[in-house]
């Protein structure tokens, strides 16, 4: 590359002001983190969040509203932040560092020690926390507030970027709504209920479904639900229905996108804050192989871990639960067996040789159940305490994989690292999407010119072009239905659709306007 940068675009005056505003907002937080005492914390918190929001909004408006409506990817690979340049790496390091402190050293953020008051950054958020849930802030409240703010302001930016595209706008409004309402406000209000002795609700984000919400079936969580009257019970039932009824039906009708890119909080962050990094996902075949092993291993791990946890507390207090250990293990085993048999009977041909991998996963879980049954006299599973299993899952998957790597590495590995390589919920929905969903991405006959914009901008690392240039529909378990491939296609080749299951997976060797029908030729010979 030449020394002169291709991107000779300079910031407008307003953009410089906006940048200053954003930095000032962050600076207030930085000062708070270093224990500078603010006289009026409510005012300074409002000022800090307000300046960040204002800065982002003004900057984005200057960036997009001055240009015509259309695809705005000019210079993506030239900008340091979005091309793994110095700024990209620095951003990655800062976010990763933030997550490490958040998860493992919250005291550095000023989290109160026993009976003390919050200090530092967390104390800055106390006023807002007291308004919402009546208690001083925790590190999770700080995180939740910043997370929600980020989705709202970067969601706004994303909507300006795609203001010609109603699909993009609607799903962005949707994730902003679910984040603000379901993930942030409602749980805070539910926490208020706990001021009454009749309620002991766990922190519960209604849209966060097991196994993404891996602590749903933890002992404290279940006890909390069961000791919170009919509301608690309804929430628990809703949580279970979400897993076994609601999500399969919605995935059948719309594909896993209804969750991953319209509802989910992880998806929300990826699609808004993470949007400038979507092209950094690897499209190599090798990455796909790692992806399949990793994500399904996490799924198997989460199923075993959850089963072991439930198994343990069912045993600890045999009088408290009507479900016995034995019945529970047999029903889990029975459910998985029925699932496995049904899939093998009806969908075997769609699996091909991958059926073996499914079988390996199935038998791993069944074997674990057996070992649980025969070795698990107390709270031990394969000689490991089940609580240790749960702690390991929470640490390595819940914190390090989904948080530190999943978000911290946005500028390096792309914005859907967690969703693609780790999320067990995505694995289940993907399984449903691949086997029985009306959703597919249709390709438009012979119009593809193999340019590769679709593959480049696929955050899940799907080589969309490989399908489009053959005129094949894209039916992939990993596709989250963000719709960006269809948006960036310069020739109108891709369309996300819900249609009939029949003919969904096309292996189309005959494109319209084409004389050569290879499939027919093959059958003739």
């Amino acid at each position: 590359m030449s020394l002169t940068t291709p991107d000779a675009q300079t910031l407008t005056f307003l953009q410089k002001v906006a940048l200053l505003s954003g930095i000032a907002g962050l600076f207030i937080m930085l000062l708070a983190a270093f224990n500078i005492h603010f006289p009026n914390r409510a005012l300074f918190l409002a000022l800090s969040l307000g300046l960040i929001a204002l800065g982002t909004i003004v900057f984005a408006r200057q960036m997009y509203l001055k240009k015509s409506e259309g695809i705005k990817n000019d210079g993506v690979w030239f900008k340091s932040i979005s091309s793994r340049g110095l700024i990209g790496w620095l951003t990655g390091v800062v976010i990763t560092g933030f997550y490490i402190v958040l998860y493992f050293y919250p005291q550095y953020l000023g989290l109160a020690t026993a009976n003390g008051a919050n200090t530092g950054l967390i104390s800055l958020f106390d006023p807002l926390s007291i308004i919402l849930n009546g208690k001083p802030a925790s590190q999770w409240f700080v995180y939740g507030t910043l997370y929600t703010l980020a989705i709202l302001i970067f969601g706004y930016k994303f909507m300006l970027k795609y203001r010609h595209n109603r699909y993009q706008q609607l799903r962005t409004v949707s994730v902003m709504f679910f984040q603000l309402g379901f993930a942030f406000l409602i749980p805070e209000f539910m926490a208020r209920l706990n001021e009454s002795p009749d309620y002991n609700l766990p922190y519960y984000d209604l849209k966060s479904i097991w196994p993404l919400n891996y602590y749903l079936f933890d002992s404290w969580s279940i006890k909390g639900f069961l000791s919170s009257g009919s509301l608690g019970l309804s929430l628990l039932i809703f949580g279970i229905l979400s897993i076994f009824v609601i999500s399969p039906i919605l995935t059948y009708k719309y594909g896993k996108r209804w969750y991953c890119s319209w509802v989910c909080g992880c998806g929300a962050l990826a699609e808004t804050v993470g949007d400038p990094f979507r092209h950094l996902s690897s499209k190599k075949l090798s990455a796909w192989k790692i992806e399949r092993w990793l994500i399904h291993t996490v799924l198997v791990f989460s199923v075993i871990m959850t089963t072991a946890i439930i198994y343990t507390y069912l045993g600890n207090d045999p009088n408290q639960y009507w479900l016995t250990r034995q019945t529970f293990l047999f029903s889990v085993g029975g459910f998985l067996t029925v699932l496995f048999v049904v899939v093998m009977l009806f969908k075997r041909h769609e699996f091909g040789k991958d059926a073996w991998y499914g079988a390996i996963g199935y038998f791993t879980v069944i074997a674990a159940l057996f070992i649980l049954y025969y070795s698990g006299t107390t709270d031990h599973v394969f000689l490991i305490k089940s609580s240790t299993l749960r702690t390991a899952y929470g640490l390595y998957i819940g914190s390090i994989f989904s948080g530190v790597i999943g978000t911290g590495f946005y500028p390096i590995l792309g914005n859907r690292v967690w969703c693609r390589f780790g999320c067990p919920m995505a694995a289940i929905l993907g399984f449903q999407q691949r086997l029985f969903s009306k959703f597919r991405i249709s390709t438009n006959g012979g119009q593809c010119i193999s340019c590769g914009n679709c593959s480049t901008y696929c955050e899940m690392g799907i080589d969309v072009r490989a399908y489009a240039q053959k005129g094949e529909n894209i039916v992939r378990s990993s596709c989250v239905g963000c719709g960006i491939c269809a948006a960036v296609c310069p020739r109108g080749v891709l369309k996300l659709e819900n249609g009939s299951l029949k003919g969904r997976v096309t292996s189309n060797e005959r494109l319209p306007g084409n004389a050569v029908d290879l499939m027919t030729l093959i059958h003739e010979k």
Partner: protein, 439 residues
Amino acid sequence: MEDIVIIGNGISGVTAARHIRKICNQFPNIPNKTITIISSETDYFFSRTALMYVYMGHMTFEQTQPYEKWFWEKNNIGLKKGRVTHIETDRKTLILDDGSEMPFDKLIIATGSKPNRFGWPGQDLKGVMGLYHKQDLDNLESYAPNNRVCKRAVVVGGGLIGIELAEMLNSRHIPVTFLVREDSFWNAVLPDGESAMINRHIRNHHIDLRLGSNLKEIKADENGKVRSVIIAETGEEIACDVVGLTAGVSPNIDFIRSSAIETNRGVKVNRFLETNIQDIYAIGDCAEQHEAIGNRKPVEAVWYTGRMMGETVAQTICGNRMAYDPGHWFNSAKFFDIEYQTYGWVFAKPGTHEKHFHWKHSDDTKCITVSYNSLTREFLGINTFGIRMRHEVFNRWLNEKRDVDYVMTHLSEANFDSEFFARYELEILSAFNNQLQSV
């Protein structure tokens, strides 16, 4: 073992190679073949149509390559970097520029196109380039990296490549003067209403569009680099650092003219894509049909026709002699932010008994033109701008010879826009019905 050699690693040659290998793998009774692709342009196949996105920073060059490196080894397709300088048809041997020889049993010529240069004074100066090869992109990167090095660029030629080059330069904030010979952009192909809409769209992007303007000469500075261009009509001199020559392409076959293979504009082939020499075939941009197929041109420089010829010749080479038989005409392009698709034939100037219905949205970025026979009312084709349409549906309607009234009332079936996009079928239909009443 039969040695198949393909000259050119573009979409035509690569498709031929892929399909030959695929057929051989599927039918073990077909004699096995070695396949070698020769190219002097790049090591690996890339999508030529995506070069613009590399310059614009949307993609890296590696991302324009549809296949990873392992693909070629896995499919046992040999890639050789080199330039063929002569074909000895008697000895069935290629002579390469390093003096080496390469024998073949069957040869596929898939050398593509090269940009036209019409003998303009100064056309070989530094800073003057076409936009076709990877080398043109490298050239552009060095002469027009940003708007400090390149203070203005002049693009000559009002076709698809010209407007792409203008868009590319514009993405780096380089001022562009766009010289178009015709009095409206691409109006040899587009009907007036569409062409006029694109003129306005180009100007909305702050491109200095000069219609009805020809290049007279390119002037050099003391270093033999572009200094300015002179416009023929007005004599105006425009200072610039880069000149893009994008006045069409022609078959890239100069090295073949010295051989026994029959050439005209391109390599002459019959419907089976066979040249006058046995076991030598030509496909893609560089092939010229003895007789045009339907309304198509004898030389078709289109992405998908290259692909289809590759698929067809692969059949022939594997023993299933097959004629190249493209179906209904279709194509697509993108003009800055406006996507364009066409299915069937819509001519710029309607022929006898050909009638056009034109609808344009008030936002001036969407329009369609429907062409039909005024006597039989048979639907002949559609141009659509800013609205995506389904290829499969129009292909079927053209096969079924639907009349225009059917097409207009069923237009929503053909819509291919993303979910939740605004729909215009009712507005279009009512405009169509009003037009009928007023006639």
